[in-house]
């Protein structure tokens, strides 16, 4: 540890004075950014444990007699939160599988220089990145199909992502072609080659795209807001919207409180706990994917 420090110090000291000052300024800016991210998060975490009245009057306190788990109890025992969790998990998994399949499959022919019709499909796909019918025509189409209040409405229309297809295509193109030639000589069909030979060496890009799809579905609310009306089908973000944005806690969360003031205070406190509980799963999951970000994103996006 000590040796490392000494080495670094000397590396820093070896640089000209002007550079040293610039580096210090840079590190300070970076430090401010890091603190600006962490500080509000810690504030929210601490606040979620504090008695609502104390919180409103004094703010965060380390007088632990004022700490309470009420908010967590009330949020965790609320049925609608769990319905939201269950739906969000279900939709996110479905979206990841469906969208991943369609996108990764389509990227394969698009990655082959010999594929007849490549130019045609490319134009058809890329146009949709910049031009579309807009909200109302899409909404009316979904409604004509009969998918209002049907989860298919939030899963199927966006299942094919041109952007992700381009990234996967670029990644495939980086795989040595002799792999494919060897497969062709063996008489392997396209399907066999794709699933047995190509996909296994594309884990970084599969992981990256899957994570984007999962997080994207987990965190979105707009499509669910316009297409899904029944409470039993709503994903977590819509339930959260009621609590956090519209300040309308789920019935039962605060109804036992006597006065409106108490109810309002409790509703405020519930927001903190709700934020923590709802964000925890992704916060825990994402570091495990971090190792794929660099290789996956670098391969696809920089060249693409």
């Amino acid at each position: 540890m000590n040796a490392v420090n000494v080495k670094k110090k000397s590396e820093f000291a070896r640089q000209p004075i002007g550079d040293q000052m610039l580096l210090v300024v840079g590190y300070v800016v970076l430090g401010i950014f890091v603190v600006a991210i962490i500080f509000p998060m810690i504030y929210i975490i601490l606040s979620s444990f504090i008695d609502p009245i104390t919180l409103q009057n004094k703010g965060v306190t380390f007088d632990f007699s004022k700490w309470t788990l009420t908010a967590y109890e009330r949020v965790m025992t609320n049925a609608q939160i769990w319905v939201g969790f269950k739906n969000a998990l279900l939709y996110s998994i479905e979206a990841t599988v469906l969208s991943g399949a369609v996108t990764l499959l389509a990227a394969y022919p698009m990655s082959r220089p010999d594929f007849r019709g490549r130019g045609f499909f490319n134009v058809i796909f890329v146009i949709t990145m910049f031009f579309g019918g807009g909200l109302i025509p899409t909404y009316l189409l979904i409604s004509d199909i009969g998918w209002l209040d049907n989860p298919l409405a939030i899963l199927v229309p966006g299942a094919f992502s041109v952007w992700n297809m381009i990234i996967a295509r670029t990644y495939y193109q980086g795989i040595p072609r002799d792999l494919q030639e060897a497969a062709n000589i063996d008489g392997a069909s396209e399907m066999v080659y794709f699933f047995k030979i190509l996909l296994p060496v594309c884990t970084p890009i599969i992981a990256t795209i899957s994570m984007w799809n999962f997080v994207g579905m987990w965190n979105s609310y707009f499509d669910a807001m316009i297409y899904l009306n029944s409470a039993s089908k709503q994903p977590l973000q819509l339930v959260l919207r009621g609590i956090l944005i519209q300040s309308q806690p789920e019935p039962g969360m605060v109804s036992d409180m006597q006065s409106t003031a108490e109810r309002a205070q409790l509703a405020e406190l519930l927001k903190y706990a709700t934020i923590i509980i709802s964000s925890l799963p992704l916060m825990i999951m994402y570091p495990f994917f971090q190792k794929y970000f660099d290789s996956g994103i670098m391969a696809g996006a920089v060249k693409g």
Partner: protein, 314 residues
Amino acid sequence: MSKPSTNVTARKSGSAWIRSTLVYVRQHWQLYLFFIMPAFLLTIIFRYIPMGGIAIAFTNYNPFQGIFGSEWVGFSHFERFLSSPDFMSYLLNTLKLSIYGLLWGFPAPILLAFLLNRIISKSKKQKIQLVLYMPNFISVIVLCGIVRILLSPTGMVNMLLGTNYNFMTMPEAFRTIYIASGIWQGAGWGSIIYTAALSNASKELKEAAVIDGANIIQQIKTVEWPAIKDTVLIQFVMSVGNIMSVGFEKAYALQTDLNMGASEIISTYVYKKGIIDGDYGFSTAVGLFNTVINVILLLSMNAIVKKMNDGKGI
């Protein structure tokens, strides 16, 4: 020079080309049926059919009569929107939100990437990146929930300032809130692509520059900037192409009755007019207006970049 002759051969061998394509398709039918077909059908149904639905913008659309049964009104929806007193306000709100957002938000990840690139210790860099990426995984709703909590009259910001402003009801605060929270959430994640490009910068070139006594500014000028220039340009064109499609989700979640003067943008207006009020024709027209401006911006931006970048656009 050789172009005309290739054209002639192409024309001559037209039928041969068709034949060879047929052979190709027969040999590689799996590529068409299993690989490309699902994506193609989804694109046609959910992207191109709605484009046909744009015709709704020229009718007094009635769901029971369909597009052709509904009364044809020509450009009257566009006239109504363009001459309405709110038009300028919505358009300016949209443009200001995205242009200011671009001015502040675009350089932020590039700056972060340069700073991260100066951290020698790998493990420290990784830890900092872990923190910087984190906000990206918070949902729009939770982000806006946090913003509302921190900015409430009794919230953290007011406590630190010793004041009790209600920021969420102030139209003049809306854009700052929107853009600052966007940088808070997205700058770290946005830096990944530049960090990746920077790591492609030639190590030898950098070492040579250091040996030659280049200071940091000179290193950035000669080694690092050239390594990320193309990425920056592409990202910039893409961002400009998205100027008119500033996120509905966040603007809507940060809207309050009182900050509407700054927070009502075209996309939120389209949603309210169309989905909530059911004024389909008018709402589609407003949305189309938005898309067309967007496409014009993208094409002109691409042309400018092409000129600046020796004929290379996207």
